[in-house]
């Protein structure tokens, strides 16, 4: 297992990211730019893979709010990562309707195949996995998603999971 450190390295927002933030802020009435917080945090996470404290502080600056307003929101919602993750985070739905069609077996298989427990990162830094709650695809279970695009994989089998992992590994090594 790779040891991932909680870093406080300073971050720079790219021009593209700053553009995305500006595009979000105009969606709300004047003075209500805090509304952009959730969408902006998604953009920042897509760029860095997780939300470090310096990154959240920068978000606060751009939205003209206090850093604590960013931290409290980031920690409330499940999609924001407050520590570094594998390059690909495989999120499997673990809620009952998916369990009826084999979600638990898929999670067991993932654990075995990747050799890491839920929430841990593989030695090559490529993968982590976790169970998440119902993803609104219950008729097509078992399902998993991979951020930051949230690409969706339905009707999973052990074989399709293996295929996915080798495809992603190939993609990462190219």
């Amino acid at each position: 297992m790779l040891k991932v450190e909680h870093t406080h390295e300073p971050v720079e927002f790219s021009e593209a990211l700053v553009g995305l933030i500006a595009d979000k802020i105009i969606r709300y009435p004047e003075g209500k730019q805090k509304s952009a917080l959730l969408p902006v945090m998604h953009d920042v996470q897509a760029e860095f893979g997780w939300l470090s404290v310096p990154a959240m502080d920068k978000v606060a600056e751009y939205l003209k709010i206090e850093p604590i307003e960013v931290y409290e929101v980031a920690s409330f919602y499940t999609m924001y990562f407050l520590r570094p993750q594998g390059k690909f985070v495989l999120e499997v739905c673990r809620t009952s309707p998916c369990c009826l069609v084999g979600a638990e077996k898929i999670m067991d298989h993932l654990e075995q195949k990747l050799g890491v427990k839920e929430g841990e990162v593989t030695a090559d830094g490529l993968f982590s996995w976790r169970g998440v709650e119902c993803l609104a695809a219950c008729g097509f279970g078992p399902v998993l998603q991979i951020g930051p695009e949230y690409t969706f994989y339905e009707n999973l089998t052990n074989e399709s999971v293996d295929q996915l992992i080798s495809d992603l590994t190939a993609k990462a090594n190219n």
Binding site: R27, P29, K32, K34, S35, A36, L37, L38, P39, M41, H42, L63, I65, E69, E72, V73, F76, Y77, T78, M79, Y80, R94, T95, S96, P97, C99, L100, V101, V132, E133, C134, L135, A136, A137, C138, G139, F140, G141, Q145, G147, P148, E149, Y150, T151, F152
Partner: protein, 453 residues
């Protein structure tokens, strides 16, 4: 075969694009509404249609719209609830993926009726692909002159934005959703005031489910009276049902309300029966929050009448022998499924998703999860069932938002209807853990009869 109002064109290639959608009669509801109807007349049509909110509570949409406060000089908002996180429910995702313009068209008509100049579609953050689909559809509609300034030369302006959530079931509750849209934690607000008076940014706001908004399109096209001809009694129109679990053909189906549940479950047009030749053991008819029913009580009411897919028929018998339509998240359990495990899974869900504001919900959901976990893992006690019922009663009705009730009902109903299966887990702990499924004698008696005959 029932009429399809929402999904009629779902299989037309390219229906997700503006051009194809338009060629199939898309955006005529916007033209009709803006050119021939006043906002009040639109609200009247929706009232006449009898449409009831499709997000779970079933509150009449036209009535909700007519409650919207209209103080001079204050902005009003329409917010579409596309948070869709209720386990078992996946219809909104389906609709937004395959026919996004239907939602956009409904949003324009509804915004016009309510006098909103900025509207938001709050989509759960996990649905990034759907967010991109909707944003593309919005750009197309704007390009065609159905959004933006001075729409169709009427002087009416509308901007429509898609807002992602951050992953929290509670943000489907409308006031938590508004908090989240304001960039805060998803803590439900104390009501009153209701959003119709003080919603987004303290302004009058209507929150409606994706399917409710989409249904406005056929209502305006054909008239509220036509819509009300479909369905049965106060359950008018069509409803999208997300059918999952151990079914031969899981998927999203549009049914006329009033369809017999037996036909929905077993006919080839819909679910096609239970998968793998198994028998039906139990059904959750409207998403994880509604009471679970054993097969026999689900197929027929306690008065031996065939049960129908309608708000009233599903609720027939109240909490003693009935359930609820909820969000239309239909989950079928075959004879091999364990009710204790399922109840634990749902309890864990609610405990995980409680926002933590009220102690009965925060603590109670955690206790229920723990007790169910030990029952499922062979360490339960005979007194646990009464303990669970007791905890569920202490949550019910004592919380800020209905998540508390939603957590209590599945547990209370599972114990009410399947108590001997819970007891069996205590008395046969080793077997229950090894086998990991329950007792099959609840399985559908109708099918047993067929097999015997």
């Amino acid at each position: 075969m029932g009429r399809k109002l929402l999904l009629e064109h779902i299989n037309v290639p390219g229906i997700n694009t503006y051009d194809v959608y338009r060629s199939k009669g898309g955006y005529t509801a916007v033209e009709k509404a803006m050119k021939t109807l006043t906002p009040e007349e639109i609200v009247e049509e929706v009232k006449k249609s009898g449409l009831r909110g499709r997000g779970g509570a079933g509150f009449p949409t036209g009535m909700k719209w007519s409650f919207l406060a209209k103080p001079e000089g204050v902005a009003r908002y329409l917010v579409c609830n596309a948070d869709e996180s209720e386990p078992g429910t996946f219809k909104d995702r389906y609709l937004m993926t395959y026919i996004p313009h239907l939602l956009i068209e409904g949003m324009i008509v509804a915004s016009f009726a309510l006098g909103a100049n900025t509207s938001y579609i709050y989509v759960r953050g996990e649905m990034m692909p759907q967010i991109r689909i909707l944003e593309r559809a919005i750009a197309e509609a704007k390009n065609a002159g159905f959004l933006g300034k001075n729409i169709l030369g009427t002087g009416y302006d509308l901007e429509l934005y898609v807002q992602p959530g951050g992953g929290a079931y509670i943000c489907g509750e409308e006031t938590a959703l508004l908090e989240s849209l304001e960039g805060k934690r998803g803590n439900p607000r104390i009501k009153p005031p209701f959003p119709a008076i003080a919603g987004l940014y303290g302004c009058p706001t209507v929150v409606n489910n994706v399917e409710s908004i989409a249904a406005v399109v056929p209502i305006i096209n054909d008239g509220g009276d036509e819509y009300a001809k479909l369905g049965i009694g106060r359950s008018t129109g069509t409803k999208l049902i997300s059918a999952g679990g151990n079914l031969k053909k899981p998927g999203v189906y549009e049914i006329d309300l009033g369809l017999p549940v037996e036909e929905f479950l077993y006919s080839d047009e819909y679910c096609g029966g239970i998968a793998n030749g198994k028998r039906l053991k139990a059904v959750v008819a409207g998403g994880s929050s509604v009471p679970i029913l054993p097969a026999n009580l689900f197929m027929k009411t306690i008065n031996n009448e065939p049960r129908l897919m309608s708000y009233e028929s599903l609720a027939d018998g109240g909490f003693v022998s009935g359930t609820m339509m909820g969000s239309g998240g239909f989950i079928a359990y075959d004879e091999d499924q364990c009710i204790v495990r399922n109840t634990w899974n749902f309890a864990r869900f609610y405990s995980h998703e409680s926002c933590g504001q009220c102690s009965p919900c925060r603590e109670g959901t955690g206790w229920m999860e723990k007790v169910l976990h030990r029952l499922e893992n062979g360490h339960g006690k005979m007194s646990d069932m009464d303990l669970l019922v007791d905890v569920s009663k202490k949550i019910e009705g004592n919380t800020i938002c209905p998540l508390g009730d939603a957590a209590a009902w599945p547990v209370a109903s599972a114990i009410r209807h399947f108590r001997d299966e819970f007891e069996w887990h205590v008395t046969n702990a080793a077997t229950a853990v090894r086998r990991n499924y329950g007792i099959a004698h609840y399985a559908d008696p109708l099918i047993i009869a067929e097999k015997a005959g």
